[in-house]
Symmetry: C2
Subunit: 345 residues, 2 copies
DNA sequence: TTGAAAGCGTTACCAG
DNA sequence: CTGGTAACGCTTTCAA
């Protein structure tokens, strides 16, 4: 009980060599059914368990995949984890969690782990890359990395993402179709590509609808509830308050709704609000939030599947897969208020 | 570039043995400063990186810790992950994610990983144990497992938890202090210890306040928003609707609030609602939710610290650490409505 | 203080 | 098809 049985013990008991035991246990075609059975029986009798560490050392793999996020406590990642986990598990991989807290040094450490073989692949959701890391050296071939959620420009890596720009357009079109003409956008932090893409979508859709964007209609938050509240306050403290708000994520939309309510404005009667992400609470928020839904579990699944392809070298050309988003109309958006405009034309 | 340098290469370049290289690199006291420097220099020049797999095989450790939850997409776990991660990282451990989806077979697999040395320890948050698993055999000493969040009775394992019963009492006392006398409790699924503890707290506090609990005042949900909605509906469809609701978690509280609103009842003017957990959205919910807050990050940190103690055998007696909860009064609770009661005494 | 060598438990090559 | 044996890359006795 204290000593673990190893392949050598089985060999002795079954009267074969360790090589044969290894082959029998791994379903190699190079053993007769008879010996395979014999070995299996012995292994069972001895209560044998494979030593994964030894095996991994020998086969030069870790059978682990790194999942790197910038902030572990962002609920948005959860369902992505779930999708990744399901596929990884089925393929025999374990999941290693990485959390960078937006620290480039920590991000680099995870890349080190990849280089050092502590993980066979990585799903990166930080939106950044450690510059000039050895793993990214083009000389060493396609690195086993899939960038998910957040795009990284021109990095030659595989991507799984959504069409943020198109989704943003769809959100704005929805508001415009309800008769809104004064539509503001609460942006995410603009250094991030993601935020800029959504803002671009907003701008394009506004242009297409023939709507103007006043100078102050694009306040930028940081995706937090608090910043949504602040951006909303700024919009409604100004001269020309909007009748509709498109927030770059649901949390900022929540903040905005809170602020509107504080000011005695009703949602959606006075102001319509639309979010982005469809968090698990958005459906039951009050009012239930109209938002853009991303297929999160599917993004995770797809990213992991791509990663397996790359690891298995079944595919070497880095691809970008675009997932479909969906506009979920709930009750935070409604017809534009049709009170007469008193403002000067 | 293609071949990784190993300690053998360093040994050759530095003109010492591999044993010395190993010692020098691991700061052993058994080398002179001079040779240590020489080896270090050579290692740097050759761009040496330790092969963690080989090292782990040799030292018989995996330097990994399993974090097992019953449902990976529950946002409640996030900050616990964060706390665990911080401590694990500092101690040189990596985090392996485990997701059981309430499947005992999957849970057993993670225990297998522990037994097989794929992880050196485990933080278990499923509230269950695979019965009779070898790892739990008392003969093999204190297993490197810390049960967090959800208690498991009489298992002889280390625990990090909150006093659910006391916290529930506190919630009920708060409602009673506002003048409520008809206080109902939306329970979690009663097979779970956690749910029962919170319900017991509710019962004790009600008794102490001299309040009766009508037969239908303890509907049980499953911690989902939908179930909160359903339980609330059941309460208000019945004869004797409460003026205050204590939900066993925030999600059910959200569901209840949604249902109340649907019925035209105001929170907190007509009905007060209190939750449990203090999810990240609860603060900005509308109305901001009064709830019981658990020190989640701290629970994670503490659990991981305990685990390190057990792994390092610095402590062998399984302890239970109880963390402090806090009542967060926000705006979903208010004075009991003082309209005259028409119901028969 | 250093070196030689024996593992850690597998897998995979090469003969037979 | 099977067996012997050399790796995988490191740590750690045991001697010197």
């Amino acid at each position: 009980m204290s000593e673990r049985t190893k392949i050598k013990d089985i060999a002795r008991v079954a009267g074969v060599s360790t090589a044969t035991v290894s082959r029998a246990l791994s379903d190699s075609a190079l053993v007769t059914d008879a010996t395979r059975e014999k070995v299996r029986a012995a292994a069972n009798r001895l209560n044998y368990r494979l030593n994964v560490r030894a095996r991994n050392l020998r086969i030069q793999k870790s059978m682990a995949v790194l999942l790197v996020v910038r902030n572990m406590s962002n609920p948005f990642y959860l369902e992505i984890f779930k999708g990744v986990e399901a596929v990884a598990r089925a393929a025999g991989y374990v999941l290693l969690m990485g959390n960078t807290e937006d620290d480039p040094a920590r991000e680099a450490e995870y890349f080190d782990m990849l280089r050092d073989g502590q993980a066979d692949g990585m799903i990166l959701m930080t939106g950044t890359l450690p510059e000039g890391h050895a793993v990214l050296d083009p000389a060493s071939g396609a690195p086993p990395i899939v960038v998910a959620l957040e795009a990284v420009d021109d990095c030659g890596l595989a991507h799984v993402q959504i069409d943020n720009c198109a989704a943003a357009k769809q959100a704005v079109r929805h508001l415009a179709s309800l008769g809104h003409r004064k539509i503001a956008h609460i942006c995410g932090p603009l250094p991030e590509i993601l935020s800029r893409l959504r803002r671009d979508g907003y701008r394009k859709a506004m242009a297409k609808a023939g709507l103007e964007i006043p100078r102050n209609y694009e306040p930028a938050g940081d995706y937090s509830i608090q910043s949504g509240r602040a951006c909303c306050a700024a919009l409604f403290d100004a001269d020309n308050p909007p009748t509709a708000l498109f927030a770059a994520n649901d949390e900022m939309a929540f903040g905005a709704i809170g602020e509107l309510r504080r000011r005695g404005l009703r949602v959606p009667e006075d102001v319509s609000v639309i979010g982005f992400d469809d968090l698990f609470v958005s459906e039951s928020y009050s009012p239930p939030l109209t938002t853009i839904s991303q297929p999160r579990v599917d993004i995770g699944r797809t990213a992991m599947t791509m990663l397996l392809d790359i690891i298995g070298a079944r595919q070497s050309v880095p691809r970008t897969i675009e997932m479909q988003t969906e506009l979920i109309v709930r009750q935070s958006t409604g017809k534009a208020p049709n009170k007469l405009e008193i403002s000067a034309q």
